[in-house]
Symmetry: C2
Subunit: 356 residues, 2 copies
């Protein structure tokens, strides 16, 4: 493989010294970019874009052409795994993801088969390989998946949900059935992420978007336990390098200590957690990724710079910080503001890395 | 005033010994009750029901006829204060609350006048007085308001919001303007709650539904600071009795220590916080209210009882716990399941109050 020209991100994930704090943005290949909207129009709908190898590669690289980002992330959707299980993913206009065949009873759970990603999700692996090749060592490539619990919410509810009534009722009343579903998902996600690593992903992130909707006990039992299983089953090294794992539980700020003990290298923080307090709580066990409020990108360039400075100051000196937003960048953001954010991280962070 | 026949709730709010853990439910007068739906139909829309004194009293008392609840809560809406400020509150079918005249610039903020509740919100005070009279000392009556920040989100956005883009941009780019708005709201809410206390409310709760959407620093600056101001301005005693204040910030579990220092008597917890860990963090400073996942009410009676037992066990022995849901009861809950929940609290809690 080509030598990596910018390894700040990989170094920070392992809490090694860097020159400046590395930065990337969740959903950095997305609708706020006019060039993304143009490519998406060529592809047709969102899912067709995910499944079109050259176009998925194209949109992955677009933000890197504009900004000095320190990482690329595979363009895909978190629901590719249940789609490969046969649930029939589609995107209804303005309604978010839906499944034609939701999983709502024992028969449906029992009928599910663990995915064989190289076979059932070959379009993802093709995209990973192509992106890695096209990146040509500029920055590392992140692969990703949804967490088992997050996937289960969509699979049982049949789509997005406000109160997660169906999936929680299954967890509360039929915990054995829920564990069977989560077990099948954990095996599938392990295979999926390992396949991405083999195809060229140098880092993987598990997106636990809805773990924060659970109670503290429910989170440990239904979400974190399965992310741990996945981490245990992943290649810890590949191609002679460690493969860092980032766990991001939105609204998981109350459970950082437990997440830091999951075996991940890095904990992703949403914007509601003070990153300095988070660092004090998890100590040297893990690196931290985050965590500016994505809505801050609607504020003035001056205010964005000020907030970047405040977050750098709160984290403090030394290694182990990857700058990011606390959640995905939203479609109405001015691309120039995203640029201000990224440049501010690089401009304002060197003092925190001096004399390491 | 009539003597109180059941003072468990008032005692628990002040961390005094009780025989059993008191319990009530946020939104206990609500759509899950067929008798509520019938009264609402007579009233017309939701806002007409809030403004109809005898019918607001009727729905307030309905859950007490069904269940051995330890408190009543005024039936009203959190947005009555901005409505009285002239913003034109209405409820679009299936869309939640909307304002005809949102507050989106300096001129609009400057034009707002602090409400005189006895005059501008006399229908609320009439309802409080009537409910208190009709309760005839059965249980204490809770008055309430939205927090300044929560009210501001609806006022600036013009209704509900997913990302709070407008209100946060105002807070980030024009903090002085946002503080002026919050100051006017804090003065208005102080007057509103004091008027409710004078009309007969024995406890007040501040609902900070959207404080949890802020960053940690933003929460302290834009939400908690104004709830503190309100608490400082409230009658600490009325009619010879202390008036306990409950602060409930949804998704505020990371900031419990700060909330406990606000001057409130009790901190409301949503279901994502372990109540035993919360107690360890806040110590004896405050009582705790909560915190079963409202979605648990869709589970079986046996599972509901088990969860009530687990929360009682987590809180442990001694005074200072008011049982509640972690958020409002939802419309599709079977009323029998709500009854199972309430009875389980009373049946399972005596061992935790023995030998106090």
């Amino acid at each position: 493989m080509t030598e990596l020209k910018n390894d700040r991100f990989l170094r920070a994930l392992q809490r090694q010294p860097v020159d400046v704090t590395p930065v990337w943005m969740m959903r950095q290949a997305g609708r706020y970019l006019p060039e993304y909207r143009a490519t998406r129009q060529r592809a047709g709908d969102f899912l067709s874009l995910c499944k079109n190898t050259p176009l998925a590669c194209e949109v992955t690289l677009q933000p890197l052409e504009r900004y000095p980002l320190d990482a690329a992330i595979l363009f895909s959707d978190i629901l590719t795994v249940p789609d490969a299980m046969g649930l029939g993913l589609y995107f209804a206009e303005g309604e978010g993801p839906r499944f034609r065949r939701p999983v709502q009873d024992a028969a449906a759970v029992e009928a599910l088969e663990v995915v064989n990603s190289k076979q059932d999700l070959s379009y993802v692996m093709d995209a990973v390989s192509l992106i890695r090749r096209e990146l040509n060592g500029r920055v590392p490539l992140i692969g990703f998946s949804g967490s088992p619990w997050t996937l289960a919410t969509y699979m049982v509810e049949g789509g997005s949900s406000k109160d997660f009534r169906r999936v929680k009722t299954m967890a509360y009343d039929q915990p054995g059935l829920m564990h069977l579903l989560l077990e099948k998902l954990a095996l599938s996600v392990t295979d999926y992420l390992n396949s991405q690593i083999e195809a060229g992903a140098q880092v993987v992130q598990i997106f636990d978007t809805w773990g924060g909707a659970l109670s503290a006990a429910g989170y440990l039992e239904f979400s974190l336990a399965y992310m741990k299983k996945i981490i245990d089953g992943l290649h810890s090294e590949y191609d002679g390098r460690p493969v860092p794992v980032i766990v991001f539980t939105k609204q998981g700020g109350q459970w950082l200590e437990a997440i830091a003990d999951s075996g991940c290298s890095t904990v992703g923080l949403d914007w509601t957690t003070d990153i300095g307090q988070a660092r004090a709580r998890v100590g040297d066990r893990v690196a931290l990724q985050g965590n500016m409020d994505p809505t801050m990108l609607y504020a003035s360039p001056q205010r964005i710079r000020q907030e970047v400075g405040a977050i750098l100051e709160s984290f403090g000196s030394g290694p182990g910080h990857i700058f990011n937003l606390g959640h995905g960048i939203t479609p109405e953001v001015d691309p120039e503001h995203a640029g201000v954010f990224i440049e501010a991280v690089h401009e304002l962070s060197p003092p925190y890395h001096a004399a390491q």
